[in-house]
């Protein structure tokens, strides 16, 4: 589709210089804390994502990564600390308001609207046509074009009239990704995008993520367990263990960090 091609053509081709395109901080937290009864799932985390980056969030199971995501998006209310997005304090914003301001997310369990067709899944998520009154019209040409563009991009266009619930797990993941992109987000939070993906498809996924970051100008924060994957795609990585941020740095630095190794191998 034409729009994707145009965007691709205009951007510099250097993936290696992605770091130099990084701007100011776009999404950050200060002292974010969340407790569940006696358990502190997220413990005073200061995290920062700058425009244009791809940031990884890793840590052993139960480290609090998904909870952190949920506090950021407004799904959960933090017990302490603040969340900032584009300079606004969005800690108390309701989830849907934050989502409409340019922050989108995908889920670990891959959530799509199973009863609706693939195409409708994307159309209903589109950024254009938003607004309660505006929704009373048929989807606009712009929305439909964008939906087609993205569905072709992830390779699901052929299945556009199939009920999303029928898709395989991998196909649903791609659909969810397309739905995330069609909202035209400034930041996309991805919860284990590589989870359950066939190893042979991982490279394609990395390409998709890089492409979203570079040509569609989406800043990305992703949680991952697959180490190779995350080291390959991220510019910077945070490590969480027991709810605390224990390390932060480039993939190379993290791989050699003693504290990180301790956390993963259980040496305390």
């Amino acid at each position: 589709m034409s729009s994707a091609d145009d965007e691709n053509a205009g951007v510099s081709a250097d993936a290696a210089t992605a770091d130099t395109d990084v701007g100011d901080r776009l999404l950050w937290t200060e002292g974010l804390t969340k407790r569940f009864g006696g358990l502190t799932a997220v413990d005073a985390v200061d995290l920062e994502v700058r425009t244009g980056e791809i940031v990884g969030l890793i840590g052993p199971n139960g480290a609090g990564k998904s909870t952190l995501f949920n506090c950021v998006t407004g799904t959960l209310t933090p017990d302490a600390g603040r969340v900032f997005f584009r300079g606004d304090d969005v800690t108390d914003w309701p989830e849907h308001r934050l989502a409409r301001s340019g922050l989108s997310r995908t889920f670990q369990q891959t959530r799509v609207y199973g009863g609706m067709t693939v195409r409708k899944n994307v159309l209903v998520s589109a950024r254009t046509d938003r607004g309660f009154v505006a929704s009373m019209r048929r989807p606009s040409g712009a929305a439909r074009e964008k939906a087609e563009d993205l569905l072709r991009y992830v390779g699901l266009w052929e299945l556009r009239d199939v009920r999303a619930g029928r898709l395989s797990f991998g196909q649903q993941k791609l659909l969810e990704f397309a739905m995330g992109l069609v909202t035209d987000p400034d930041v996309l939070l991805m919860d284990e995008p590589a989870g359950g993906i066939n190893p042979s498809m991982l490279n394609m996924l990395i390409d998709h993520i890089r492409d979203a970051n570079e040509s569609r100008e989406v800043t990305i924060l992703l949680i991952e367990h697959n180490m190779d994957f995350v080291m390959d795609v991220a510019d910077r990585i945070y490590v969480l263990a027991h709810g605390e941020e224990i390390a932060e740095g480039t993939p190379a630095a993290i791989q050699n960090d003693e504290r990180v190794l301790d956390a993963y191998l259980g040496r305390e």
């Binding site: 609207y113 609706m116 409708k120 309660f132 052929e158 299945l159």
Partner: protein
Amino acid sequence: MTRYAAGVLEFADAHGWKIIAVLAVVGALPPLFGLEGGFYMTVATLTLMFGVLALSWDLIGGQTGYPSFGQMGFFGLGAYTTAILVKDQAVAFPVAFLVAGVLATLAAGVVGLIVLRLRGGYFAIATLGILLVAQQVSRNLEVTGGSSGKILLDVPPATTFYYVLLGLLVAEVAVVYYLTGTRFGYVLNAIRDDEGKATSMGVNTTYYKTAAWMLAALFTGLAGGSWSLFNTFVDPNTAYNLSWNVEMIAMALLGGTGTVAGPVLGAFGLHLTIVFIQSVSLDVTLPLLGPTTINFAGWQLVLLGLVVIVTVVSYPQGFVGELRERASAMEYYRHAGGAAGQETSHDETASPDGGERT
């Protein structure tokens, strides 16, 4: 069967508006050709009414995923409104009719603030509770005539109600059909499929749920408003008819929830079947009891209950739903191995919005 299903659905999706127009015209004919009153007029009018009710229920239940067990509450509110206004306040029927609709919609707005926060089973029971409270209140108030209800004498002729309900049904089908093709309709379905996901995608689900709920109440209230005069009598048991409450759900289920044609077809099918069964009596000779006439008059509710059970257990998708399922399955397998990027067969004749509106 499956190709037939896909074919029928494609035709319906492509020519929806024309089909609605044709059916509206066809529906308008019977009174012009002799249907004036009596038994058949009642059957026809009530069939249309159930169409309205089933479709209203489906709007909030099948499309939005909030299955109300108290929809008759709005029906009763509408019924009493017109009864009281026409009988006690000498208001003309058309005005009373509109007031009934407005009141039902407003009541839904208020009630919705409370109940739409609940989900699934809790929502269903809460709406049932509201229906029962409404029934009890009507039983206890003077203005509604208490348990004896109200008798209405000076009412418009039966044909009027036939056309009112026909008009209501056509209007509702048109509105719902239109909405299912808009983003509003898509959002309702998204709420049904995964409300949390919808919220995380930026949807303020409260607005949409409330709108669907109020729209459903509007049509239900208007139906009730016509019915009380048509029936010339209204009392707490008939206005808040608990078995109609279940019947409309069964109708939507049978026909196929989440579709436009489904609830209407289900309503027509089930109601006419029940009427038929009620009119049947068999003369048989039973052992021990000797010659007996088995009259099914009292048994329609048993039948209804059984229909509900069997439908839920074996055919939860309903008729139109089953058609859609098969068509969708076909669609998937046609593009099978249609893993990302692969092109198998093209079907450029599919409608631009992806059909799926019937």
